[in-house]
């Protein structure tokens, strides 16, 4: 099982390597993106003439956006698009014919792609963030928990992507659904603005949704926003969400397979 998973991830990694030019471009443009946020918030902080806005100092919010991009590189999942394409071009059958759990197959494929992003995007940009933008290196505990957390976040991101991708069975063309999902998830997970900027009521609702565990929680773990105990608890909640999402996805998948095997095969 491990050998097979590794083989699939390796194939996904190699395929991503064939598209490495895309990663290079991202790497070159990401400092620019961070610069935009840097200047934006600098002007806001200066104009407001305070040190802390919604719990963040200026340095803190720059660090937030830097880590947001790093987490984003890793948890980015195109699985919904893969499923849509497989349905459109009748390629689902090829993966169904492999002696491997269908859902896991897509996951390990994604893992391979994300692994490449570690080398070509995350690590280089992390260095840029530290040396050019003054982001601090986290203490050991938080750093390690950060890594655990983003791996779990990847699993969550994958399951949500897969869930959305299954709609291709019913709707065939799901470019609109994918677009909404992309924007919604980035927005609700704190990818556009830290979640503390939402009214308290809204933040309360977010606690019961899985989205904040994809970006906001890992980022804040790194930033040391939580105590040791809180950090471990949040990671536990991530695990919980992975189980719940998996049960939902697997349940729907089995039904979809029975009913709609005419599509995409």
């Amino acid at each position: 099982m491990i050998k097979k998973s590794y083989a699939i991830a390796r194939a996904g990694f190699k395929e991503a390597v064939a598209y490495r030019f895309h990663f290079y471009v991202t790497l070159v443009t990401s400092p620019l993106t961070l610069l935009i946020y840097y200047f934006l918030w600098k002007s806001i902080f200066e104009y407001s003439n305070v040190d802390i806005i919604r719990g963040f100092t200026f340095e803190g919010i720059v660090a937030y956006y830097a880590l947001n991009m790093i987490v984003g590189f890793f948890v980015w999942s195109n699985v919904d698009e893969w499923l849509e394409n497989d349905v459109r071009y009748g390629n689902l059958v090829n993966n169904l014919l492999k002696p491997f759990n269908f859902i896991f197959f897509y996951f390990f494929n994604l893992l391979g792609v994300s692994s490449l992003s570690i080398f070509l995007e995350m690590v280089p940009f992390f260095l840029i963030a530290i040396f050019l933008f003054g982001v601090k290196v986290a203490p050991v505990f938080y750093f390690l928990m950060f890594i655990v957390s983003i791996v779990l976040a990847l699993l969550m991101s994958f399951l949500i992507s897969y869930f959305v991708g299954m709609s291709a069975f019913w709707f065939k063309n799901i470019s609109g659904i994918r677009r909404v999902k992309r924007v919604l998830i980035v927005f609700l997970s704190g990818g556009m603005i830290p979640l503390t900027f939402f009214p308290e009521v809204v933040q309360g609702i977010f606690k019961y949704l899985p989205f904040q565990y994809i970006r906001s929680v890992p980022i804040n773990i790194y930033l040391g926003s939580y105590t040791y105990l809180e950090t471990l608890m949040l990671i536990g909640i991530q695990v919980f969400w992975i189980f719940v999402l998996y049960l939902i996805v697997n349940g729907i998948w089995n039904r979809a397979f029975k009913k709609f095997a005419g599509a995409g095969i």
Binding site: L35, F39, I44, E46, F171, G176, I177, R179, F197, F198
Partner: protein, 261 residues
């Protein structure tokens, strides 16, 4: 068939193929408008918990965002398809299909590159602009508004010239999709007023890559007026840039055809 008919036919074709997937069409339409409203929501949050962007009241900043979204939306609807089509057909070796047609290749591609999705952005942008007009009490039938619209048109021309130039480069570099990504990241700089940038960044994006054309200048004109001198200072470089990019395009085409495609 003339170019206007080509445009209309392309539009009808694109629209009906989007509608072929009915649920997707509905969801996408709502989703696109919703996606463009997230920006304003974030601005609202920022203005709720801080003093906001220096020199810009909330309504003024919404006007700014709306303008950016409108110009972006127009480019999305009418222009994005152009370099995309060129890059893809050059990569797949099918560009000759364009050359065979009884049209000027540039004009043909320009009039048949419609992306329906962009219309939602245009609507969202217009919505925000109108809202801001009302809130700020701006007089619609004024000289400033006219100049505002004119500068939006110039912004559009500027983006058109940029895309033509990008497409020309597609003939030289096979991996031009990267340029596309790069372009979008750079455009993002224009999402916020030029005044927030400092030092080298300010310099680069005012003089080297004048993205202020997209939203900064039009909105400033609307709010503060514009002298004829400044207008010419924007108009002339944009027209020169357009001329330059068409020139590059023609050269690229000549090279492509003489090399046997």
């Amino acid at each position: 068939m003339n170019y206007l008919t080509l445009f209309k036919k392309t539009f009808a074709l694109e629209l009906s193929s989007e509608m072929a997937y009915k649920w997707n069409f509905f969801i996408k339409s709502l989703g696109l408008i919703f996606a463009d409203l997230i920006g304003p929501i974030i601005i609202l949050l920022i203005y709720t918990y801080s003093s906001g962007i220096p020199g810009w009241k909330f309504e003024e900043f919404i006007l700014f965002q709306g303008t950016f979204i409108l110009v972006n939306g127009l480019a999305h609807t009418l222009l994005f398809g152009l370099p995309f089509q060129v890059i893809r057909s050059v990569q797949q070796g099918t560009f000759d299909k364009v050359l065979i047609k009884p049209f000027n290749p540039l004009l043909y591609l320009s009039f048949s590159s419609i992306d329906i999705e962009g219309i939602a952005e245009v609507l969202a942008g217009l919505g925000l602009i109108i809202w801001a007009f009302v809130k700020l009490g701006i007089i619609v039938f004024s000289w400033n508004t006219l100049l505002f619209l004119f500068l939006i048109l110039l912004a559009f021309v500027f983006l058109y010239a940029t895309f033509v130039l990008m497409s020309s480069l597609a003939f030289l570099f096979v991996k031009s999709f990267g340029l596309f990504d790069l372009f979008f990241k750079i455009i993002d700089v224009a999402r916020y007023p030029l005044s927030i940038y400092e030092g080298g960044m300010r310099f680069v994006f005012t003089f080297l890559i004048p993205i202020g054309i997209i939203s900064f200048y039009p909105v400033n004109v609307l709010l503060g007026g514009l002298s004829i001198m400044t207008l010419l200072e924007i108009l002339i470089p944009v027209l020169l840039f357009l001329g330059f990019s068409v020139f590059m395009w023609n050269r690229a085409i000549r090279k492509y055809t003489s090399a046997g495609g």
